[in-house]
Symmetry: C5
């Protein structure tokens, strides 16, 4: 699309500089290469995300109430060695497009091939699944990209085993940094709450990030509202449309979360201790709050669309009125002028002494009357 | 936004003099500073409202069926001393942005950190939570600000313990004054109904205030309806839009209340006596009524939007019709006048004896015919 | 609003002669004076309707299978005397804005203050409430006011006690006249069916009246449909809007009724005999039918709105097309006439022998061509 | 409505030749004469349909697995005589506006007055009701009237007793002819399946007719779609509106059927044998399919409305564009011609040698430039 | 429809070259010839699809964990012979419009006539039905026709018996090819998972194909979005409309699938082993995902409609503004020129020395002022 075309239709720059594909990714990614995958046997490892050059990395926290060991970028063998320890273990894996490494880890921890497939299908709905010896949870992590002013989504998968949490991330991210800081500090329940409490702390962090995204979203909505009220220009609707699209995206991440957390809280999941459940109840309340706000924002966006339409049709009305008033005043006058431009021989007015004055008098009287009518009709 | 810009787009003054942020507060406040809070350990005291300069104040009613003591502005130590008494106690706390004081009181009464966090997160959904030794309820208190003609919301939290009610308010308010008057008078069940009855009386007062707000809202709606019918001007839609926005706000406060009161009535909550339940059932009915009206108002607002659109498009139609009739009558006449302004040498009409009379005759006949056609088409 | 203003905006008379307040009463009445009531102790007698000068009146039917006594306008003392009798009793009370009298009766029959409050709050949702020794039902009675062509609503409350029915009405009305006639005649089950059967007969009469209202409503809808199809004038939409508003009103009365009657039929209410339940089931079916029709009418109204919009935009299209065709034909012709009005010295056409004929030939050719193009484009 | 008025608003003939009342009958018939019926005691025989001159007729099939007797137009006495037989009996009654005859039959078979009232109230919702010794079902029978191209509805009531089915129809109809043919032929289960199987066969026939109606409906929808795509004329929307209205009608008949058939299949109805249930399950699936299609058609109609609106507003756009382009080209040219029509004495251009050529040159240059601008803006 | 008509209304070629019937087939096919079928006894074999010339063909896989025999185009007798074997059997039947052959097979395997009717009614809703000795499932198979760029649907029916799966297809297709390849290779559970696992594998393949279709659908949606943003032409809405229609089609196939798979997983179906259920759970998750995406696409389409409307009305606004500005500038100027074309005798300006210059000065001043006003109003 060249610059001229864009200018003619006044598209906001923000809408065009990014490739549209990214915006849809939450929806379409799920089907990426699905024509290749169709018919493959189940449990086949197949990464469905966009391949990046992020290296594969494993980082580990091995901790008990009293001490803590932190290791970064260890190899799979080192990881396996660590797993025998008596301590609680948190394994964080980044760069899951390295399918072979992920498979090797999953095999070691006896994770079912179908679960592994779910970990690699990064555009899934948030879900929870309890197996005999582990609990699997997949969530969407939302983040607001300050620079491009758009929302990014990433899948995070959690495996909760006896005394162990494994997290799978697509990219390097600092979302869990807050948990790491608390682990290192060792205050509160974080170190002696067990692996289920760590799981809670991680999920809580993810949900907290939703609030950050929604805060930004609210800012944008407010900005756009003010713009529409002020001018109601074409690009405002394009921006509104884009927010609508992002909202659809966010909804798909937040709504299924309720089910996941609710299952985690209510069901008789043996890996989650009763003492942790009161905290999960808190996450559940936060999730409801996020859903509530998403729905409220939807209502706002819909009201804003109506407002925009009303602003636009009011503008059209004003334009038409201007044209009509102007035409209505000048059309009769032009007609009169036309009449006295005729070339008949015996037009008596032409030879009147005050013919020209009479002409202008006529013009003023007719023009004044038209104006008066509009005044009475309250058009002007 | 300068005055000229405002004038051009005819925004109602009311919409602009207040900062838009306040209107959104019900939705966005929840996320205020959420980028700071993200990742904090749970149960951290963090006030999420707008910080004001209201001083922290504790007022206490210590009463039994026979006598009553009322104290204002007591210190936390005095409060602690009072708590040993055999009497019923109502502690009202105002200015909860004084986080330390609130924390100190919560600790003294063994309130769970997560509950305390909920008390301080003043933009939560209304909720109810039963703990081992207390019952926690958070509601929205709505009030109509007569001066600025808008609805204000504030969170009120209730803690019901054995023989004791604690209420937490953001600001000083006179909503509970009616209950105080009844306590002082000591008539009815208010003094010997127990703490659960006091809780009921306080919640009832909050719900009664919803009705006051909805009464005002109905007044505004009626006013706006009459305006649209009369004129259908641009600013009417802006006002309608604003009402829509307030309605979204009110809905978010009222709907979850149903769940809260319903739980209070139905569940086997040990702190609420059976004799009090018949009164809570009454509050429940009021809540349903409030919800019912909110939904009805929504329907009205939506009908009004349609009416406005129809008024506007009728106006456009009328404008266009006026223009068309005027043009249709004068365009042929102007053409005729133009024809006889030509400078050809041998135009026979020019030298006719009654050429000028013939010209006017033609004008009148053509003009009359056009008028007749419009008459038949019922355009005029 | 003066007559001129009304004329300009063409409002239907019907919409303006009545005060808008009445139309809203179903919604807003509930909040009438709610700023006065807020904070009052529960069970306070407070009439919420519009105060009229209808006198307070008690009329009584005391009957058994074999004989019947009918008394009108008796005093409260006489009523109390009658209550000891072995016969079935139907007490009908009109003019409940006489709060003291109502209170005196309620106290005598040991009706709970909260129930009394509900009787006097005449804008409540239809409800049913079972107490230890009586059953309370509140319904909306709808009536079509033939003269003003609008729907009126009134609350009727029923108290069913052992061998006794008390009915509370706001105004004098002849709705129950049919039941009175049947009582006097003494045919059918009416006299020996017990008080629960009488209650059924009274409710059945109320529901039958809904059908009368809906019949009228359907007539109006049909009339308006024909009008829109014929002309699609501005006032049609105003009438449609008004029907929409009335429909909202009716819906609020009819929907909750389902719940009330369903409870009456299904629940284990000890005051209602099993033999009466088959009749209540019949009322229930009628209620469902009424709801069904209300929803269908809603669909029709919404379809009619669409139709109206389509008629209006078709009209605009036609107007614009007329203008465009007219302009398109005359604009080039006027231009040609203008060209030959120029005063250049050496315009060869001016001195041609058949200059004037040539001029008219040109006009006819150009005009004909424009017409031909429109013919091909199927615009004319 | 005279022919001229109709022509002006271009109403489709089909919409006007029939009285609108018929179309509404599905909704309004229910309330026909409801002002007369209001207050009548329950179980009063009152025919609510349109009275026709169809004679009352009873036809009977008395059959067993081995032989079959068919009688038409028998009297009520003959019918009573037949009822003692050991054989299965199917009594078909047509012309139920003959209230007395219907009442006499109902009394003979001990049918409850309320059920009889339901049989005569021919505009009821489809329903099922189990009494002690019979099962009552009321359905809507839909038929497509080929000539007037509209859907007709009629109520059919079924009474299932031990070894006996009674059907009540408003008019003579050939819907059940297919069942009669199968009965006479005696193949399949029809003769030895028992009365419940016969009931199934009859209901199945009714549901099969829905499919015929929906097939026709789909044809109309397709036709209208093509028309809108081709032209988008005013009458297309009127037809669409009419289809919408018919769809509302059909929905009201089909939706409640699901409940009826589902009850018939699932509930423990003693008159229906287990072996028949697998067939009723099949009818249930058909009903779901009909509902499914009705909802899909609704979606289509709504999409078509949008399409129509879009076609119309595109047309308006095109009209406006034509006008604008034409005006934009000629307005400046006419101005130039006007300028050189002035009568000032010293206009140098007038006496130029190539004044006239210059004039035309100017016209061509200005006209060409305007055209070029539109070319660049892609308007032409 | 001839080429000229098409050109005038600018219909996209794609919409017209195909017969509209095909697009509707998903909805209307169900009713094809329903007027012929109405009243037929149940369980009558009647093929409801479009008759093609595809030959009837049976292909068989007879396999155990260790060996496998594959046969194509065998006769019914050969099939019957194979059925005695101890091995697992998969019978795939193509061309079910050969009703007699299908009937013969169904009879041999003791399939109930109603089930056979369902197999042949190829436009049914997806369904599952458990009989005494087999399980019947009917699904829709969606495929994207690359050439015509549209979605094709076909019904596939599955019969699961002890050690046996029978599949019925309308046409020859390569959808199951992937399963055949896996069977031949014999890796994974496919050969020793039993017949229920094979059933799972086949259903999984069908669901995988939905994702391929949805991927294509997303591509189209994206393309159309870009087009609307760039130009918003008429044919874009036609394409959007077509996508809407296809979406309705797809929804009808995908939604009921959830119920089918859910029943397969949850219910106590004896033919499905517990070990297979974990795989069916996986298919269930995929189905939910497909539904989720379908709903999301619906939201997108609806947003796109709004966007298109907004683009169109912005365009109209722009056109009107251009016209108004142009008219507003030239109308007064043309009036002035007209004035000085009058033929009065004593117009003083005519004989002024600088009369002509004065004229042009006037023109420029008036034109400039008009331009300035528009500049201030920000119209230009």
């Amino acid at each position: 699309m060249d610059k001229i075309a864009r200018k003619i239709i006044n598209l906001p720059k923000r809408l065009l500089v990014e490739e549209p594909l990214n915006l849809y990714s939450g929806v379409r990614g799920m089907f990426r290469d699905s024509h290749k995958r169709a018919g493959l046997p189940p449990g086949q490892p197949f990464y469905t995300g966009v391949r990046t050059d992020i290296p594969f990395s494993i980082s580990v926290f091995s901790y008990s109430a009293t001490d803590i060991i932190e290791k970064e970028n260890i190899s799979i063998e080192e990881l396996k060695a660590l797993s025998d320890s008596e301590k609680y273990l948190w394994v964080n894996i980044e760069g899951i497009h390295h399918v072979d490494e992920v498979k090797s880890i999953c095999d070691f921890y006896e994770i079912h091939p179908l679960t592994m497939e779910d970990i690699l299908s990064v555009e899934q709905r948030p879900q929870i699944d309890e197996s005999e010896n582990y609990l699997f949870i997949a969530l969407k992590m939302l983040q607001f990209d300050q620079e491009n002013r758009k929302t990014l989504g990433e899948q995070v998968s959690f495996i909760l085993r006896e005394n162990m949490v494994i997290t799978f991330q697509e990219k390097k991210g600092d979302t869990f940094e807050a948990v790491r800081v608390r682990l290192r500090a060792g205050k509160g329940r974080i170190r002696n709450g067990g692996s289920d409490y760590l799981l809670y702390a991680l999920i809580d962090t993810v949900v907290d990030n939703y609030f950050v995204v929604l805060e930004k979203f609210g800012d944008e909505l407010e900005e756009i509202e003010e713009r529409i009220m002020l001018e109601g220009r074409k690009r405002d609707f394009s921006m509104l449309y884009e927010l609508k699209r992002e909202m659809i995206h966010i909804r798909r991440s937040v709504w299924p979360l309720r089910e996941v957390v609710s299952k985690l809280e209510r069901d008789d999941i043996k890996l989650v201790k009763k003492s942790t459940r009161v905290y999960i109840r808190d996450v559940y309340d936060h999730t409801i709050q996020a859903i509530d706000s998403v729905e409220t924002y939807r209502d706002f966006i819909s009201s804003l669309s109506d407002l925009y339409q009303s602003v636009i049709s009011n503008k059209l009305n004003e334009v038409m009125k201007t044209l009509t008033i102007l035409s209505a005043i000048f059309i009769p006058l032009t007609f009169i002028a036309g009449v006295y431009g005729i070339n008949f021989e015996n037009v008596p007015e032409f030879s009147w002494d005050y013919g020209y004055a009479y002409f202008w008098g006529l013009i003023i009287v007719v023009g004044g009357l038209t104006g008066l009518i509009f005044k009475i009709k309250r058009w002007i």
